[in-house]
């Protein structure tokens, strides 16, 4: 037995019907370190940790925790043994308070009653330790997504576990909260807690990691000390090839105005937004979380009630009240919330692909053509799937995103809105999606890209509209745009805004 490792996973094999998700994978974690798992979506990182904590049974392989061979059947067993996890998808009980969420299932009791006083006190103690300013009595649903994520993190570390798994913990956090999280991680390390960290964000990974393990397509590639690795080296190991260009921007002919938005309003979220969009153009929308970019797009697409302003397409005023109307006007929208309003998880890739285009298959529906269309897009976008009848829920995030992109491409829209198209997607798939967007613009489509990743917006867009608190604060051309300038407009305070207007 090797004392050096707190956790050893060896020769882990996990089979799903038709897919080998993990093929003889290993992971060795030293106590008091941050061990980062890297790999493209579908590489098997999440599956590996799910096998560890008993969310999914392993097909074969050995897991040794603190020197003993273990095999957890439920997450509760893993928790009791000292392995807790912050999940990628939040699962808060919205109608209960912050406090109740943190102590869910292990409430302090006084006799048969819950001891709310003690629960409350413990909760405040936890928050104080890490300087989190949240009222434990607040209902969960009133928190922002970022705060909910922090609560989830506090919950995971409050079990005093010896291993804490963090699956994309920062995807919903703002910069200050990321710093808070890193402080928490440093404290945990000092206490000898091992952290298994999963993230796609290179900068943060190199800031906090001690060890890095790389996986690709369910295979184990290598483990090394972070100091010995560079970003480029890791990317190369992840994709098994060099990525030459993350933003393959092609020059396209920019044509006449296709979409004109004038003084668009929707409640308090969108206030007097005006912009126009030309054929062959990629228009980026930048801003901080909550700047109203998504809300603006939802209003244009008919998902949100328009309370003022006008929208013109090809010079004609259009009145869109529902996504159905928008699609009729040949507008497509890849939404931000892939699981919430994107995929229908239990249905096949085929059904998910043709969903927005059902009207074109006639009566009775032409099932053969549906299958052909789906296959064509699976090939064109390089979607990795055993068959087109596989439920989309079984695919990795990046492949789900490709199916959704296929759904909109199939409707052949004049205007395609993509909201956070590469969130939670690995680098390889990211570059592929950027290429597709660029190609579409080349075909004369008009494209709007909303993204919180500045390099992405700057890389793909011809022009960048910057928003802040529901208002457009700036519009920058490709030549003049820079990260600093965008950030300046995104964080403008109100007095400066007035000066500009």
């Amino acid at each position: 037995m090797d004392d050096k490792y707190i956790l050893e996973m060896q020769d882990i094999v996990k089979e799903f019907p038709g897919v080998k998700a993990l093929n003889g994978v290993q992971l060795k974690v030293r106590p008091g370190t941050v061990h980062t798992l890297m790999g493209e979506n579908g590489a098997g990182k999440s599956t590996l940790v799910k096998c560890l904590i008993g969310m999914q049974p392993v097909t074969s392989g050995k897991i040794r925790f603190k020197g003993n061979e273990v095999s957890y059947k439920t997450t509760q067993e893993a928790l009791d043994a000292g392995i807790s996890m912050i999940h990628q998808e939040l699962s808060p009980v919205l109608e209960r308070t912050v406090c109740e969420n943190i102590f869910l299932g292990r409430e302090p009791k006084k006799g048969i009653f819950i001891d709310y006083k003690k629960m409350h006190k413990d909760c405040i103690e936890l928050f104080e330790k890490i300087g989190l300013m949240i009222d434990p009595r607040e209902k969960m649903k009133n928190l922002t997504v970022a705060k909910m994520q922090m609560v989830e993190i506090v919950k995971a570390i409050s079990y005093d576990a010896s291993i804490v798994i963090m699956d994309e913990p920062t995807s919903a956090l703002t910069d200050t909260e990321v710093e808070d999280l890193f402080k928490i991680i440093a404290e945990l390390k000092a206490k000898g807690v091992a952290i298994i960290y999963i993230s796609h964000k290179m900068e943060e990974i190199f800031r906090i990691s001690d060890d890095i393990s790389v996986y690709r397509d369910g295979e184990y590639i290598t483990t090394d000390v972070a100091k010995n690795l560079t970003q480029d080296k890791v990317i190369e190991l992840m994709v098994g090839r060099e990525i030459t260009d993350m933003f393959p921007k092609k020059h396209c002919e920019i044509g006449e105005v296709v979409l004109e938005v004038k003084e668009l309003c929707s409640g308090k979220a969108v206030r007097n937004v005006s912009f126009n969009l030309r054929r062959g153009e990629i228009l980026g929308f930048a801003g901080l979380v909550g700047a109203g970019r998504t809300e603006t797009m939802e209003t244009i697409f008919g998902m949100r009630k328009r309370t003022g302003g006008k929208v013109y397409k090809d010079g004609q005023e259009i009145n869109i009240k529902s996504p159905e109307d928008a699609i009729k006007n040949r507008i497509g929208m890849l939404t931000e919330d892939r699981r919430g309003n994107g995929i229908v998880g239990i249905l096949s890739i085929k059904m998910n692909t043709v969903l927005a285009h059902l009207k074109s298959y006639g009566f009775p529906v032409n099932a053969k053509k549906m299958a052909e269309d789906t296959k064509a897009y699976v090939e064109r976008l390089g979607t990795k799937t055993p068959t087109i009848e596989t439920p989309i829920g079984n695919l990795s995030g990046g492949n789900q995103q490709k199916v959704l992109l296929a759904r909109w491409l199939l409707t052949d829209p004049d205007i395609l809105i993509v909201d956070e198209p590469t969130r939670g997607i690995d680098v390889g798939a990211k570059a592929e999606i950027h290429t597709i967007l660029s190609e579409l613009a080349g075909m004369g489509k008009a494209i709007i890209v909303v993204s919180s990743e500045l390099p992405e917006v700057l890389g793909v867009a011809d022009r960048v509209v910057v928003m802040r608190e529901g208002v457009v604060t700036g519009c920058l051309n490709r030549e003049e745009v820079s990260q600093e300038l965008v950030m300046k407009y995104a964080t403008l305070d109100k007095s400066m805004q007035k000066a500009i207007q």
């Binding site: 929208m333 309003n341 994107g342 249905l347 927005a356 529906v365 439920p391």
Partner: protein, 325 residues
């Protein structure tokens, strides 16, 4: 190979259970596997089956319809009342209201459609749970039926009873109607845009909206279909026995129909339903009903068996779905 065989078994488990039950019943009672008994069984289950095809659509969209038994009673009373002989002393409509049989049946279907449209609009536009909307509709329709007539609507003419009680080349008409509806339901689910949107709507209503499906209209159509099936059930029910008692007709049918759809693998959390599954569900419930009666098992034991089967089938089904994720 082993995995493949496992998948075949797991996909068809419901039919295997049905076959096992049939074999078991045939061994236990030699009167079970006879042509005459098969007819009895099918005639007995056909109406519940038709209503199960209706309610399965509602369940597919995460809904439910508790009103179908009462709608059947209301439509049975109205359509029956309109075709009773004019000189009958106990007529439901003592004045003169009288319609030719086809018109009366057509009116019955339209009443069903209208009730369904109301329920559907309530569910779609006010967002109240279907359970509540249809529970209310059940009370209202049952009361409506009793207001039409406070005694059984009887002496129904032969023409009206054609679908419910006649035979066509030795096959009961009621079974033929059941088969036609089964094919229609299968066609709608598998081969029309409407059917496909139901799966999307049940699987993820928000995603369906974003993909351009008009969720509200679709829901209205779902409950129209469901209530029309109930109306048809009511007409067949009155036709089968030649009279329709508004206070007892169709009572419990909603639960039997929901049970059959559930046993047939229709998920209450939406998005999962196959017509072949529903048929199997109906037949399983029928075989248990009929077989246990033949064996002389008392009514209470039969219901205990049915209860266990319903709960067991959902447990099996949920385990299957968990493994998939």
């Amino acid at each position: 190979m082993n995995a493949k065989r496992k998948k075949v078994i797991s996909d068809n488990i419901i039919w295997l259970i049905l076959i096992a039950l049939v074999i078991l019943m045939s061994i236990a009672n030699r009167n079970f596997a006879t042509m005459a008994n098969l007819k009895t069984l099918l005639t007995g289950e056909a109406i519940k089956g038709i209503m199960a095809f209706g309610v399965a659509f509602a369940m597919l969209t995460k809904g439910i319809d508790l009103s179908i038994g009462a709608v059947a009673a209301l439509v049975g009373a109205v359509t029956g009342g309109l075709v009773q002989p004019v000189d009958l002393a106990t007529r439901a409509f003592p004045g003169g209201a009288h319609l030719a049989v086809p018109l009366s049946i057509l009116l019955g279907i339209l009443i069903g459609a209208a009730i369904g449209a109301c329920i559907g609009a309530l569910v779609a536009y006010t967002h109240i749970p279907a359970f509540i909307a249809t529970l209310g509709a059940q009370l209202i329709c049952r009361a409506g039926a009793k207001m039409v007539s406070n005694r059984p609507v009887s002496n129904l003419p032969d023409a009206y009873r054609f679908m419910g009680s006649k035979q066509f080349f030795g096959i009961p008409m009621i079974v033929i109607v059941f088969i036609v509806i089964a094919i229609l339901a299968w066609f709608i689910l598998k081969h029309t845009r409407f059917g496909m949107s139901l799966y999307a709507l049940g699987g993820n209503a928000q995603a369906a909206t974003v993909a351009g499906i008009n969720v509200e209209k679709t829901l209205v159509k779902v409950y129209i279909w469901c209530s029309v099936m109930a109306a048809l059930g009511g007409i067949l029910l009155a036709g089968r026995s030649g009279s329709s008692d508004p206070s007892t007709s169709g009572i419990g049918y909603e639960l039997d129909a929901i049970a059959a759809a559930t046993v047939g693998g229709t998920s209450h959390s939406g998005g999962v339903c196959t017509i072949s599954g529903v048929i199997a569900g109906i037949l399983i419930m029928g075989v248990i009903n009929n077989g246990l009666v033949l064996m002389g098992v008392d009514d209470n034991m039969t219901n205990i068996c049915k209860g266990i089967i319903i709960i067991g089938s959902v447990i099996v089904d949920m385990r299957k779905n968990i493994q998939k994720i």
